[in-house]
């Protein structure tokens, strides 16, 4: 499965996230000094979790306050019940990479 570059590590401030334009999109978060990757779309309201609020490895969706564990993808609060898929992340030469499925690379990824 391909590893693709999400961003330079320094670009992503603590509490921020970036979207990898795969199909479906993946969000890479920076929280407590660690990088995490999950599906970007909230399993409840279909909204980008990269636009949510990040604290202590938990993301809260900006629309309906569903919370997910960034480590496991588990839905921590209602109204979400379905977990997020998580993806492996590695940092190499100052850049953050995420491993996604071949089938997710529907479009060229920069």
């Amino acid at each position: 499965m391909p590893w693709i570059r999400a961003c330079a590590g320094g670009e992503l401030e603590e509490g921020d996230a970036v979207v990898v334009p795969s199909q479906p999109p993946v969000a890479v978060f920076h929280s407590d000094g660690e990088f995490y990757a999950t599906a970007d779309t909230c399993t409840h309201g279909k909204f980008s979790l990269a636009d949510g609020f990040v604290e202590e490895a938990v993301v809260e969706c900006a629309l309906h306050s569903a919370k997910f564990c960034l480590r496991t993808g588990k839905a921590l609060t209602l109204p979400a019940t379905e977990p997020l898929r998580t993806f492996p992340v590695r940092v190499e030469d100052g850049a953050v990479y995420v491993e996604i499925d071949d089938a997710m690379m529907k479009e060229p990824v920069s």
């Binding site: 409840h44 909204f47 949510g52 900006a62 309906h64």
Partner: protein
Amino acid sequence: MSLQRGRAFADDAETLIDRSIFSDPVLHRQELGRVFARSWLFLAHESQFAKAGDFFTTYMGADPVIVSRQRDGSYKVVLNSCRHRGMRVCRYDSGNAKAFTCPYHGWSYGTDGALLSVPEEEAAYGDGLDHAAWGLAAVPRVETYKGLVFGTWDTEIPPLAEYLGDFTYYLDVLLDPDGEGTTAAAGVHRWRMRGNWKLGAEQFAGDMYHAYSTHLSSMIAEAPNSKGIRPPAEGFQVGLPGGHGLGGYPGYPYWHAQGFSAEVEDWIGNMLERAAEHLGPARTTGAVFIHGTAFPNLSLLWNRWTLRVWHPKGPDAMEVHSWSILPKSAPPAVRRALLLDYQRHFSASGTWEQDDAEQWNYSTNGSDGFVTSSLPLHYGMGIGRGPNKDFPEFPGTVDTVYSEINQRHFYRRWSELMAVPHPAEKAASETPASRAPASETPASEALLTESAKAVIA
């Protein structure tokens, strides 16, 4: 004496005001469409929006709106009312948001008003909900003037700068004294009080006459700080086309009479010298502007570094939003002194503010009386007096300081607007039930869209 619909004046000479304009609920409803939906309305100061998603909630007439900065730096103004059950989608005064989610059923909208997400959409609506048709209604025109953000629902009135006209000559003294602009002090004061909004707007437009009565006790209390410096006996009122007006005095060192420290006094004196180079002496060192109103409901107090909006809350109450506007060039100690000076006089707890609130409460209260309301009020001060020629550079019609010329300009403009029904009044008077079979969903949806179009038109 009964009110001719659309006329504030009870006589042809335009010196008497029919006081039902301060209390009649029917006129109030008409005013929301004919005056407020047809004017440029002040919304916020640009310094309140540092980054994308920063928002401020306010009103346009009685309509609650959200003003927010978009990613491209522009401003978007949308109605703060969910399209599903009408709940406010944003219940905060200001903040930063990625989206606004209605707390009632959870419909979510982007800061640009687009409908983003509806909970359980597939189970609730299938594919039958047209997101493009059910976003928050957006104000069609938003423009800025030197840091001030305005919006209007009217697609036909002139652009903002033209609408403000010669009022900008005077407005620039507050907004652009030295070429460096202004910043709004953090926190917009909001309070409600009894009284019709027009009593605030007209008083700030042209009423210096009330000061030595209404504010006498405040003046006496402040006298020990004034070092014997008082305003000159003669001053001016300036009435402008479009209903705007302002007043003040020939230049005098008012800033030495406020109890400021020497540092603050020096800074104001030096700033006025810089302003004279930037804007010319006539409106800087040559004059002290005190009060003014840009029609309909934006008012300023130049010498207190503040501006405010009078939002109508029914015919007999208003909500004031009040800003402290400070020159960017002012050092922190000066900013703090000017902010405290504004707060002492004209915040919700300001002494001068409370003086005025008492007058507007009982002026409006009396308008409800049956016999009381049949007697018109005297607005004839200065009628028949020649123009004041002491200020040849001032644009507008200039009169002496004790004149109600500006109030008459204000109500002339109000009457012009009130004489023409707003197109949406017709749409509102015909109920959906009277025009469409209740059971046919597509017909009533089409009707709602038509009515929404009429509001925006």
